[in-house]
Symmetry: C2
Subunit: 564 residues, 2 copies
Amino acid sequence: MSTDALTVAAPPAAPYVRIVPLGGCGEIGRNMTVIETNDDMVVVDCGLMFPDDEMYGVDIVINDFTYVRERAAKLRALLVTHGHEDHIGGIPYFTKEFRDTPIVATPLTIALIKAKSREQHLGEAEFTQVQPGSRVRYGAIEAEFIHVNHSVAGACALALRTPVGTIFHTGDFKFDQTPIDAKPADFARIARIGDEGVLCMLSDSTNAERPGHTLSERIVGEAFTAIFSRAKGRIVVASFASNVPRIQQTVDHAVRFNRKIAFLGRSMRNVVHFAGELGHLRIPPDTVVKIEDIDNYPPEQIVVMTTGSQGEPMSGLARMSVRDHGKFKIVPGDTVVVSATPIPGNEKSVHKTINNLCKLGAIVIHGTDGRSHVSGHASQEELLLMLNLVRPEFLVPVHGEYRMLDAHKQLAVRTGVERENVFVVENGDVLEFTHDYGDKVGKTYGGHVFVDGSGIGDVGEAVLRDRKALSNDGIMMVVIAIDGEEARVIAGPDLISRGVFYLPEAGGVIDELRTELRAAIDGLSVDALRDVDAVKEHIRSALAGAIHARTKRRPIVIPVVMEV
Amino acid sequence: MSTDALTVAAPPAAPYVRIVPLGGCGEIGRNMTVIETNDDMVVVDCGLMFPDDEMYGVDIVINDFTYVRERAAKLRALLVTHGHEDHIGGIPYFTKEFRDTPIVATPLTIALIKAKSREQHLGEAEFTQVQPGSRVRYGAIEAEFIHVNHSVAGACALALRTPVGTIFHTGDFKFDQTPIDAKPADFARIARIGDEGVLCMLSDSTNAERPGHTLSERIVGEAFTAIFSRAKGRIVVASFASNVPRIQQTVDHAVRFNRKIAFLGRSMRNVVHFAGELGHLRIPPDTVVKIEDIDNYPPEQIVVMTTGSQGEPMSGLARMSVRDHGKFKIVPGDTVVVSATPIPGNEKSVHKTINNLCKLGAIVIHGTDGRSHVSGHASQEELLLMLNLVRPEFLVPVHGEYRMLDAHKQLAVRTGVERENVFVVENGDVLEFTHDYGDKVGKTYGGHVFVDGSGIGDVGEAVLRDRKALSNDGIMMVVIAIDGEEARVIAGPDLISRGVFYLPEAGGVIDELRTELRAAIDGLSVDALRDVDAVKEHIRSALAGAIHARTKRRPIVIPVVMEV
């Protein structure tokens, strides 16, 4: 937990609504926003972020719930826009603390949350199922769910009606005019809500730097048609498990090209099961085969769909690429379609997977060709269209790094939003709106909470600094035992190191260091030996100096003095 | 150093040439190739690679020189194609070992090598200066330097004539039909050499997956014209220091738009100095001002050129972005052009720099727009043209990850090279050609040699594994002192940890662990206490178990038992 002194002004007596983004602003991941009125509060989304390279050993990053905790009595519901990790991954931690809060979402989103929670064994939560078009009221706040397009089924925007005006949250969206499920975003509802007047819009900024219009999911179909026409052997398609439209396209092409399809991996099979039951996925009978049975068919009649489009080490595709998958071995002539683009930071692992697949003789087609994958997020023309449909008085660009939020601001200004009415915020900024004003009124805890093992928030910057230092140059310990009464060294110095040098070959160096250190200790007077802290510092600096002189490395040096 | 048992067949008595890529095949970086005949040997390039995230604490990665060392008596010269780090960065380590070997290169390349060597204080080397068109003979090997286009001036391909045929090494190249210096690649020489017959070509594979033709450097000029026309404040252009064509374009635009230019940073100023002296850079008088003097001019009359296009933490641009640059502060209204694309792995740091610059109010234009930066490497059409000009009997795709080498192979086959005559090699593969055959005849050491501090090659996989473990979950030490005679614990257990948990808050946990551990030790019999190794293992497993039960973390646990 962060420990900065933060202040939030006391709320006014007059009707107000506060918008507090706790994550996802200035970063990609852990999206979460608090919407709070005088007596009621809802939370929109509760995601996770995957750690970057500097977050040594951290499993995942979640949000600081302090603001919600301090106002828990007002908390009415957690509204979830869609079932991606960066919107639902923090829910198991949220429900653990706020047990009785209903989780409100569309059926597929609920199924994805449940699958996630089961993996984590983190208690049970209360769910309220809604459909696009549903309205639910929580005290002074009414929430309407509105269908939008995205790279997962069941994605919704939210219109949140409050006593001081409507807050419109786009969720993650694109405008796909020719989606696979033939359901474009609900333009009519969005336009009507815009007509009724929107106080403030929070809108997806992921592709705010990208000119033009994001291509339709249907374009991927055209690429698949070309790939399926050409492929002589088996086809493997890797995508996110939650990308139901992509699964549908793969199924459709399997049917069209007379291939059976096998789904590999638990999360992929889970999604196929849920999405099928809920009507988001249509699979003709006799299309699916078990992975164990694919060898009963000639290679040109098989498609395998798996996860691993991000090169995740434990995923189906990564394991295939190093011949470590028990149920599927890549053979020359297989075609592999990596139907995704690498999330920033994953490039190296994705490319490693692709290289390994090439080495095994696979023909690899990856999403960077711009056809076998399309983004799920709106580009500039769609963001402009959304702004012109909703015509908000205020805009809070969300879901993006600073440069994306800033680019989104420039777009908004072009559509007529007043420049000073666009809030490019940091996580934890508290925005307050009344009938008279809209302004930033304070800052709450918006920092990263690290989950490491079973610890939540106990690993902070200090621990990461230690881990970074350890990872750079290793650690060296010196242990001596001192007779406390006689003030003389009775055992040691013993030197123990990890990660400094290759020990089987460094024996000579260790011997030299020990000799040098012994001389340094022998130089100490009896009085000096009685001051344990001074002895420690003496040892530490002598050893650190000796190591640096020999190797130019600076391991952490830890002196241990045992008084016996 | 790697320790695999590797074998290389004894060379034939008949005339032969061996080609041994030691780096750069299956990876981006540390390019180096040995060309060896019966009595003579030259090395082409000697680069470095920057460590990836898994190479904890490693400063740089160089090549294993074993193959050269074992044949040092035959070594005649180090031929260098151009002055980029991945072609020259290993030279200081090479010259340290092979002192008398002349380094043969064009003047700017030599200047860049000298600048590099001076930074490293690594001895003096003997240089042989050549010009494009020069031929130099080393025993049975004659080397001809041929002008090609690349993102640094003075770049050359090499035709190496040997008793069994000509080896053509493209170096890094693109075919720029409208280069800034008005010198397209020497098509006439390349075509003539192809006409004379080429046994084997080694060719740049970086962009072998990219269809079409790499855009001309002149396209960047068009983008710069648009940017300079629009900019109302100062302009900052960041690129690689060695990108002389890009510096020329910036200078040309400064002159055209009536701005003074200041060069920021030692490496940038060095290159401007060398390149100017050697005639690669033309700067009109009264164009350059000192960075200290820029405030004497109105903002619209200033351009600053700096390094940092890769987000390197110590570079000019990165320091500006966090207001840590003593000589230049970004102010709102400044335009920053990041004239490069991120090298894979650098995306996060580049984006961080861009975000920070945006936060300071700068208008940031980055290379991903596809206009303010163009690649220096040939795309598919240029690789095909090179293949059709040179018409080699054999091809060795170099300079690329496996997928790129493989894509290059497919291109070569389309131009008529026999499929079995394309060698997609690993570093260390030994290829041998005589008048009768061309084949792989063995494998030498081609692994990564890590430089860490002053140590070269002493940090290996074992040390990195330790550093990785340390970085994931930290380390915990337990120290006890045992009276050797009486076999009883007389001091400890003391627990010391780094990187496991945040100590000021973990006092309670440490106390619990100590109590648990003391109980485990108390349970040991006197006999058991006499066996120090068994005591250690007992402590290690008891503590590791207790920590995991509490935190689900697995730090390295090191038990130290001092016998007194």
